[in-house]
Amino acid sequence: MPRIGVYICHCGENIAGAVNVEEVRKYAEKLPGVALARNYLFMCSDPGQELIKQDIRNGLIDRVVVAACTPRTHEPIFRKALENGGLNKYLLEMANIRDQDSWPHWHDKEGATEKAKRLVASAVAKAAFLEPLEDRFVEVAPASLVIGGGVSGMFAALDLANMGYKVYLVEKSPSVGGNMAKLDKTFPTNDCSACILTPIMVQVGTHPNIELLTYSEVESVEGSIGNFKVKVRKKQTYIDWDKCTGCGDCVNACPAKVPNEFNEGMDNRKAIYIEFPQAVPKRAVVDIEHCLSCAKRTIGTKPRIHSKTGEPILAPCEKACKTGACDRSREYNPEGEVIELNVGTIIVATGYKVMDKAPFKEYSPQSPNVITAMQLERILSATGPTEGHFHRPSDGEKPKTIAFISCVGSRDKRYHTYCSKVCCMYMLKEARLIKEKYPDTNIYIFFIDVRTGGKDFEEYYNYCRDLGIKMLRGRVGAVDELPGDRLRVRAYDVDLGAPVELEADLVVLATAIEPAPDLEELGRKLGITCGSEGFLKELHTKLYPVETPVKGIYIAGCAQGPKDIPESVSQARAASSAAAVPLTLGKVVVEPLISEVNQRKCTGCGTCVQLCPYSAIKLVEDRGRLRSRIDEALCAGCGVCAAACPSGVITLHGFTNAQIHAQIKALAC
């Protein structure tokens, strides 16, 4: 006969304000199997836990029911108390009489008290069937995977590498650097972006513990904390990167022109290209879709021989390459190469994408002089299409009047309802850089709120206004094209209480920060969901901001939501320390609340195999026939299989059929 101890928590007034705790205690005392029932103001406090420990030590009880708040936050605390008292920690059952009772039934004290009794009774009924379970431990592979090579990913990788762990850094572009590499200067200190970023890129590229996998993408992720099996596809570059020195001779020779992504489409690159001059690694890539197959040679075919000279007729890129890295006669697998990694933890830092201007028809996106802020960033940058000379796109003239429009696609139900968080600051920054260089430029910023909430940001804003940058509250309604490449901006100045219009030479749209393309798909591969805004969801906004619901997978930077550089770096470094904990411990505890098949009775129908969301079940040959077997390293204890098994031969430990049935029965009576 079990001896169950029932402990009812007042939770201050949280529970006792609606539930007559003493009445519930008296009721619990009489339930079958209950040896004693107590109540206390705060069960989770030290003295509260001490009550449980003493009763165990005194030999009064061998099962515990705590009726309190949510097990999500408090179960670990009470399990620990059982353990310290000398009882197996899985002999605990919790009844949530706060979230599920006192809170929703606050105005029905009698009903709340009755419901508390039912919930306690059902927990007691289950507790009678509890069995001791032992924790499992999983070895942790001493390596980490960082997905995304922007500023967040690079810092996360460097921190882990400096702690001595092996890090694989996967980046989809040919070079690391991410969006930050495209910026001219960075607020609030106006450091030159390249000057502070390039050394970090070089460190990442040369660190002995970092294996840089650029131009690569994650194909699939299996396994769980400590033991993730990751398949990464190294995309085909059509260049032998071991031989390529990044000299760029091939690039100069190539005749094919393609819009340049790095310069936001404002100039062209070649079909064979190096992403940008400071790229790490500095290697060439052939964009096979745009390759002209010069000398009538598709990739992987031998050159024709010149009828007169007897020499092979090479493509210009091949001819220019002195190292033999560009050899078009080699057989290339267009699929690239899939490699398999085994890592203990994963950090996702896939960054963001700046929204395109095309959807905003009211702002004349067809005009070359209506540009996005990221395009302006490239115009201002010394490595950009104009080499830092401030020209407007249509005619290369220096703009005299510039209008910035904020919240384009942000705080807008048709596109993104969230605030993109960095636009106010980057607009101010760009306006300031222009105004400092060309003081006679007229700059107008149309805003709906100026949001400069960051360290040193308000000062930055004040400085910009002191420069004479004009601020107008009011979302721009229209930008019309006028003859002579001019643009008419129409708005309503809320502060003036009057409609206004402005003729501008250049209009800059501060378009929204969007999740990186395919983030949702990557999330699916990892088992992490995206919030309604499309960014990856953290485990808990306040307390676990870099953790995800999947143990061992962490997030950093704009993959989680719009952020500026200081914040992205802070979060990256937080994620790297969180990801280092399991690596340092070398093993992680896994709860034994997982499923097990009674193989002797299994009929091998395969129902469970299909249903398991973690691919933890396989049919294996056993005594002459196929029967299912659950890999305990992969099982997450979701219980899908146990519920589905038509023969009822799967047991989910901690939630056995006997336990659940007893619980339901007690609730029903």
Binding site: N442, G468, D495, G497, A498, V500, E501, L502
Partner: protein, 190 residues
């Protein structure tokens, strides 16, 4: 610009005068650029309650955008009561009242001032009071006050000094009011 015009007429920012900001800063509105249009001054201002279209906050925004003509075409700035409430409540130490004063100085330079103000200025020159009720003497006497207050009105020497000072100001250069050096107290009915 009247209320109606504010509601219907579109203001062309391209025609704004970028020099206006500097002019105002020179004429006493040094803290102009500190204004963040929070509207606290407007909440304290009697001009708002009286329904004038260019009260402190809006005057400042109009100056920031260089809307010189809009301000000059409107009589609002002359409605300021110099109560200084705005200056007391402004969280950014803009001194909105000083900015209105500065804008008045701009207006005077351009002879854009209402007739009422000319009369006030003339009275100031003649009596030392912008508003002076000439017939108040007997009323004052009835309540036991001296017929003339102890100010420039009762003190021809002080008034002379004041007039000398006023003749040194921009007002004299502009010639908005006649400023003869005769003993005005005698000619003027005080």
């Amino acid at each position: 610009m009247s209320n109606v015009q504010v509601a219907t007429g579109v203001i062309n920012l391209s025609e704004g005068d970028p020099g206006l900001v500097d002019e105002i800063k020179e004429l006493g509105g040094e803290e102009l650029l500190e204004c963040i249009q929070c509207a606290k001054c407007a909440a304290a201002c009697p001009m708002v309650l009286a329904g004038f279209s260019f009260f402190n906050k809006r005057v400042i925004q109009a100056i920031l955008l260089g809307l010189r003509d809009a301000l000059l075409d409107d009589s609002s700035i002359w409605a300021c009561q110099s109560c200084n409430r705005c200056t007391e409540v402004c969280p950014r130490e803009v001194n909105p009242f000083e900015i209105i004063q500065a804008m008045r100085r701009v207006a005077i330079r351009e002879f854009a001032l209402p007739t009422l103000s000319i009369e006030g200025l003339k009275s100031l020159y003649d009596t030392g009071h912008a508003v002076y009720l000439a017939g108040a003497g007997s009323t004052r006497a009835k309540v036991g006050l001296p017929e003339k207050p102890y100010s420039t009105v009762a003190n021809p020497k002080a008034l002379k000094e004041l007039q000398a000072v006023i003749r040194q100001t921009a007002l004299a250069d502009l010639g908005i009011i006649p400023m003869d050096e005769s003993d005005v107290t005698e000619t003027c009915e005080v």
